[in-house]
Amino acid sequence: MSHPLPPVGRVVATELKPSTPHQFHFWTARDTPIGIGAIVRVEESGRVVYGVVTDGFAYSDLVTPMHAVISADGDPVAAGLEPSQRAEIRLFTAAVLRQTPEEPLQPVPLGAVWLASDADVVLALRMDAYTGGERATGIPVGLYAAGGLESPVYLDCDFLLGPEAAHLNITGVSGLATKTSAVEFLLGSIFQTFPRHKGSVAALCFNVKGPDLCFLDQPAGLTDEDRRQYARLGLRPEPFAEAHYYAPFKADGVNLNTLRTHESLARNTHPLVWGLREVLDYAEVVLNRDDVDAKADAFIDFLAERVVGREYQDDLLRGKPFQVQSFADLEEFFRAIFDFMEVLGKGGEVWKTHHLATIRKIRNRLSNISTRSKGLVTDDGAAHDLPWGAFADRSVHVVDVAGLDPLAQDLVFARIVSKLREHLERRDLGVDHVVVFVDELNKYAPAEGADTYVRKMLLDLSERGRYLGLVLFSAQQFRSQVQRRVVGNAGTALFGRMDMDELSTPAYGMLSPATKIKLATLPKGELMVRHPHFTQPIFVRFPRPPVLGGREGIERFPPAVELPFADAVARQLRGLDRHVSADAVRALIDGRREDDVRRALGVTRRERPDDVLAFFTACLGRRVNGEVVASRRTVPAVRRGDDGYGF
């Protein structure tokens, strides 16, 4: 192998610090480009060893600090003015990444050490197995940089999105935009480089706080250095071409509960509204562990299979059949049961084998969700959902749950992930792979605490999702506070700047003290990557994501002020047809019941008619004006004296 650059060091081995097949030590000049995380190559006698620097030491020939004090006469200033500098060593420890030949596996030879070139990085990280050829599966994750050299680092999509391994977990302290930026950059990289022969891919992101993911379709202002890094990685710095946003309404049912309410962004910002049917299928989510028992399950099953969405006839309850479509209908159904039981008196504690207490409990829980999640859960039964079955290749769908009650957030997670799973199982989602991004994983899959439905669902996703093409990208500030199996199943892990308290937990015991210090001081835009092909963690830097960040997005697209009911309806309709006049809408709904307007608006949104205003008007129905009841002619009272019976 030719070496255009001179070696930067030399392997040394002593009895106390020997070379082993997994680790070696080398010294360098005092002024060296080598640092923690640098990849180096050792070559000697036909054996080539690649390693990554994990620790560094410097010491002089000073035997004891006392000698330094004596030679400086106790004056620290004089200590720096010694005419000769002591002999010093820069000694580095490196962990072996790869050896060639791989067999027989031997201790690292005591040869010269070079900084790794582009080609060396490819070999060292075993990227040669998946970045070359016609069916390459490499996904750029960042640039490895050391000593003025810079090499792209690729993840293997077979190990990132399945089927070999899957899932990705990101850990990093909040406030440095590491987690969100990393996932935005990586999703963009996946969308641009995911090979066609592996099928189609889409992403579904849950925006759990602020405006973090609210502007994925808006371009960011990038520096020349960012653009250079994109070019080096072979990527185009473009925002997501096909992004769709979904957010529930606020309690008024017309203003969206998201920070993405700027009028110019309304085109692809859709309401997320579910009805009773959608909620009931995931009723388990809203039940706490104490609630979940066979009796409750049986009653929920009864409601789901026999009552909701069907015609239910029970002559004992009332003469006409129940048509339960909405929470209001359900409440009427419950009311009928309770009235019936009340009539039965003391003996009326069981209705169709379901105990009255169980019925009351289920009724309370379901009405609770409709109350706490007003805006997500509609009372009129008209749902606006994600485009199940019509997910487009390279599309990203953001569900904004940041403003939702935690219970409602759980419901959203559970239902959406379950629906993804169902559709992927049936292969009718529209894409072959879906990346689900969940931030604040320590909140949804905590290491300790009650075993919630969402945690079980995330665990199931992490353990079995890859077979379906359902991939979990998750992030949290403290990995140690997340359910171990959920993060453990992530084939790839990214680490941004970390808190030292977190780094001192046993989970990071395999990292050297120097690597921990580097992680604790990692600048913005740098990550440590663990990937199945890399035998050691690797540090990379990545350019700023090509999409507008949350804070900038809010400045450029300030959220619309919460509008009065009529104006909010007008804006919703203008989102469907920009020719709709606000005045016309105001005049149209003036004096109407808000529930009627919401219902008409929901139907209009769902149907997306050509003539929006006409359709909406039709849905509202004819205005019923109040009537003044005219006094009727009355039959005069019988005069007392006319009573033939003498009363």
């Binding site: 000073l62 035997v63 330094a68 004596i70 010694e82 005419p83 000769s84 002591r86």
Partner: protein, 312 residues
């Protein structure tokens, strides 16, 4: 250069009928000197006096250090005559921006024995050079080993001279030599060379002067004197106390400074002494001679001993 395996050499000598041996001769680690008094002539003051030299000052300009090392190992016996393999090395390390860098280095491998023993050993592999011991007396292993040590001393001294002259051809900077300048007339006359002797086997005074000489206070120098030398290379000397000696030993921190006669005046002696006092730091520990060993000289020795033993 790959180390030369002495075991292979011993095997080859055994095949030639010689008796392999491997004991390390005594006194192989350095020069051999005999204690003696050689009264010197004072060139400053009527009687030996102490002179405070003032506060230490950094050495201006380029400064280099020259030193050499030697080692030897017994190879075999040809009858009663020992055959010894030796290595001598010397180097000059120059200081630039506080960093000491080797600018000159030379190493030689020697086989030292009586001519007959060398003949019995046959052709020796490159790069060994042969050094013949004197034959004016019959072979005696102990005496021959002492002669080997002297031969190694000479070989090392010659190498140091060679490097000193080569350095002077490439630089006009000050060169500090470990030992005496009187090894060479050129050195003894060089106004930019300075010898620092740690050894006090040869003392320049006796009686009360010697008492005064040995009790020199720290930061002081003795009067200048002209030592009695065996060769015709006049130099000037003075003693300088680098570190306090009381409570330790009269030789603790005491060095003998040797300069060309051109520098043998009180002003120059004071100035050079101040510069040398600055060279006390950093300490040349862990060498046990740290109180007299300048770090620059220590650095040359450490370099020569660390950079490859040619005999293994």
């Amino acid at each position: 250069m790959a180390p030369i395996k002495l075991a292979h050499l011993r095997r080859a000598l055994a095949l030639r009928g010689l008796t392999p041996a491997s004991a390390v001769p005594e006194a192989s680690g350095g020069r051999t000197e005999e204690a003696c008094l050689r009264p010197a002539r004072l060139v400053e003051d009527a009687a030996l006096a102490w002179h405070p030299v003032g506060t230490s000052e950094p050495w201006p300009g380029t400064l280099a250090f020259l030193d050499g090392v030697q080692r030897s190992e017994l190879l075999a016996y040809a009858g009663a005559a020992p055959i010894v393999a030796g290595e001598v090395a010397a180097a000059v390390r120059e200081r630039s921006n506080r960093n000491l860098v080797t600018v000159l280095e030379e190493r030689r491998l020697l086989v030292i024995a009586r001519p007959a023993a060398l003949a019995a050993a046959g052709a020796l592999p490159e790069p060994f050079r042969t050094v013949a011991l004197p034959t004016d007396e019959p072979p005696h292993p102990v005496r021959d080993l002492a002669n080997v040590a002297r031969a190694l001393d000479r070989a090392r001294g010659a190498l140091e001279l060679e490097l000193g002259e080569r350095y002077r051809r490439r630089s006009e900077g000050w060169l500090v030599v470990d030992g005496a300048l009187t090894e060479s007339p050129l050195w003894a006359a060089d106004p930019r060379m300075l010898g620092v002797s740690k050894s006090h086997a040869t003392l320049p005074f006796e009686g009360d002067d010697l008492d005064r000489y040995l009790r020199l206070p720290p930061g002081h120098r003795s009067s200048l004197y002209a030592p009695e030398t065996r060769s015709l290379t006049p130099v000037r000397e003075w003693a300088l106390r680098l570190w306090p000696w009381e409570g330790k030993d009269v030789f603790h921190g005491l060095v003998r400074i040797e300069v060309a006669p051109a520098n043998g005046n009180p002003e120059m002696a004071d100035r050079l002494s101040r510069w040398l006092l600055a060279e006390r730091a950093p300490l040349s520990t862990p060498d046990h001679r740290w109180d007299r060993l300048l770090y620059g000289i220590h650095s040359v020795e450490a370099y020569l001993r660390a950079d490859g033993r040619r005999l293994a």
